[in-house]
Every structure is written in structure tokens, then in C-alpha cells.
């Protein structure tokens, strides 16, 4: 078992998952996470405003249809 592990040991650093785990451990991915969060929050807030405007437009349409049906 130990012998097999020692044989595999030189291959370990080339495993991308392990390399990633090492980077996470060192905190090297933190700047990437912050950049991703900043850009993600930007789109969330913009979509929130678009949703509010679309809701207002829908309400207006509803009022117009209501008035037209009342007039008919």
C-alpha cells in the first residue's frame, strides 16, 4: 500500500483537482471570487431594476385594458 502510494506521489501535483485544492488552501482564489461576486451583483441589481420597470409597464397595460373594457 505504502509502496503504491510512493509510486503515485510524483503524479499528485499534476492532478488539477489537487492543484485547485492547494490554491484554495492558500487563499489564492479569493481575488477571483471577489471579481466574480462583483460582476454577478452588478447583473443582479440591473435585472432587479429591469424587473421593476417591466412590472410597472405590465400594471399600466392592465389599467388600460380595464379602462377599455369599462368603456365598452
Amino acid at each position: 500500500m505504502i509502496q503504491r502510494f510512493c509510486v503515485l506521489l510524483p503524479l499528485l501535483p499534476t492532478d488539477p483537482v489537487l492543484l485547485l485544492a492547494q490554491e484554495v488552501g492558500r487563499g489564492a482564489l479569493r481575488p477571483y471570487l471577489h471579481v466574480f461576486a462583483a460582476y454577478g451583483l452588478f447583473w443582479v441589481l440591473i435585472l432587479f431594476w429591469v424587473w421593476r420597470i417591466a412590472r410597472g409597464l405590465k400594471q399600466l397595460q392592465g389599467f388600460h385594458e380595464e379602462r377599455h373594457s369599462d368603456a365598452d
Binding site: P31, A38, Y39, L45, F48, W49, I53, G56, L60, F63
Partner: protein
């Protein structure tokens, strides 16, 4: 401008703005060089600075429209002020969330009570107060007038925020674009920033036009319903 035209212009401007922002995102990921001292996190700069610029543009518009409302009493000016204030709060929230995410890596803290950050937070809360003042009065006209005064006085904070980094001791970096000797930014970084800045401005103007058309149309509709039910104009 009639409301249908405002809506079409708004959609067009917002669409071009989104395209420009997506191009800027591509430049941020694949094209612009990484800043030497801060590394990858400096890429937040390309949304933080345009968000700040758009916030100041929006709140400046609120102040101008509010002045027009106080002077002329025109309801359209008040509708424009409301639409711009809403946009200012959204872009201000983008600025106030992207800044701390950058600061945590660059300065080691999310927030510090240094002059520019404090004044910017005060500006955001002033325009949040603008909506609270509007809704707090029993007489809506009085509420609009008081809110307009808040908007005009609140805007005096904008030039102070701009000069705060040179007037006071501050952690915030000095301006790198608007300088007497010209921009000191790497040309590729400047191109990315300007693309993003153009996209943000167009997106704001587009969504502002749409929001204004909705606000104005709903007020007209409310006035018409009031006339129908009471026989007098509001």
C-alpha cells in the same frame, strides 16, 4: 417627446448599452493586462468606476429635475427626478458593493470610515431619504416639494466626493483619468474603462427613459381616473 418614442429610445439605448458592457466584460477577461501591484482583483475597477460615474450622473439629473420642478411646478420634471433617483440608487448599490469586494483584497478590509467612502454612503442614504420624504407627507404635492429640496441639497455632496481624495487624507487612490495632465492609465486599461463607461451611461439613460415613461403614464392614468370619479382635476 411622446411616451411611445421615449420607450423606443429607451429600449434602443439600453440594448446598445448592454452590448457595450458585454464587450467590456470580454475585454476585462481576455484582453486587458493585469495590474502589477493588486493583481486580478483590480479588474473590479472596470465596473466600480463606471458605476460611480453613473451614480453621480443620475443624482445630478435628480437635482436638475428637482430644481426645474421647484421652479416651474411641472409634474414631468418630478417624474424625471423619480426615475433618475431610482437609477441612482441601483447604480449606487453597485458601486457600494463592488468597492468593498475590491477593498477586502487590496486594503485587507471591506469598509473603512475614510472621507470618500463615508461621503458616498451619505449620498446614497440621502437619496433613499428622498423617497422616504415623498411618501411621508399626507399631501403628496408637499411631499414632492420637500423631496425636491432634499435632492438639490443632497447633490452638493457630489463635488465634495470628487475632491475628497485630494483634500483629506484618504486610502482611496487619486484620480487616474480626470487629471490636468491627462490620464495616467495604461492605454489598454483606458480603452476598457471607456468602453465600460459608455455602456453604463447608455444602459442608465435607456432604463431611465423607460422608467420615466412608465412613471409619467401612470400619473396621467391616475389623474384621469380621479377626474372620472370626482369630476374635478387633481
Amino acid at each position: 417627446m411622446n411616451l411611445r418614442k421615449a420607450r423606443v429610445a429607451g429600449l434602443l439605448l439600453a440594448s446598445v448599452g448592454v452590448v457595450a458592457i458585454l464587450v467590456a466584460h470580454w475585454m476585462v477577461v481576455f484582453w486587458v493586462p493585469t495590474e502589477a501591484s493588486m493583481g486580478v482583483v483590480q479588474r473590479i475597477f472596470y465596473i466600480h468606476v463606471p458605476a460611480a460615474w453613473t451614480t453621480f450622473l443620475a443624482f445630478g439629473l435628480v437635482a436638475l429635475a428637482s430644481l426645474a420642478y421647484l421652479w416651474l411646478g411641472d409634474d414631468r420634471a418630478d417624474a424625471a427626478a423619480v426615475a433618475a433617483a431610482e437609477g441612482g440608487l441601483v447604480f449606487g448599490a453597485i458601486m457600494l458593493t463592488s468597492g468593498p469586494l475590491w477593498a477586502r483584497v487590496a486594503w485587507g478590509t471591506y469598509w473603512t470610515w475614510e472621507p470618500r467612502l463615508t461621503l458616498t454612503l451619505l449620498l446614497w442614504f440621502t437619496y433613499l431619504g428622498y423617497f422616504l420624504v415623498r411618501g411621508s407627507m399626507a399631501d403628496p404635492r408637499k411631499g414632492r416639494r420637500f423631496a425636491a429640496v432634499v435632492a438639490v441639497f443632497g447633490s452638493l455632496n457630489i463635488p465634495l466626493i470628487h475632491v475628497s481624495v485630494s483634500w483629506f487624507r484618504s486610502l482611496h487612490p487619486e484620480a487616474v483619468v480626470i487629471k490636468p495632465e491627462g490620464p495616467t492609465l495604461h492605454p489598454d486599461m483606458l480603452a476598457t474603462l471607456l468602453t465600460s463607461l459608455g455602456g453604463f451611461t447608455l444602459l442608465f439613460l435607456g432604463l431611465f427613459s423607460l422608467r420615466y415613461s412608465v412613471e409619467h403614464a401612470s400619473r396621467r392614468l391616475q389623474a384621469a381616473r380621479f377626474r372620472e370619479s370626482t369630476g374635478v382635476s387633481p
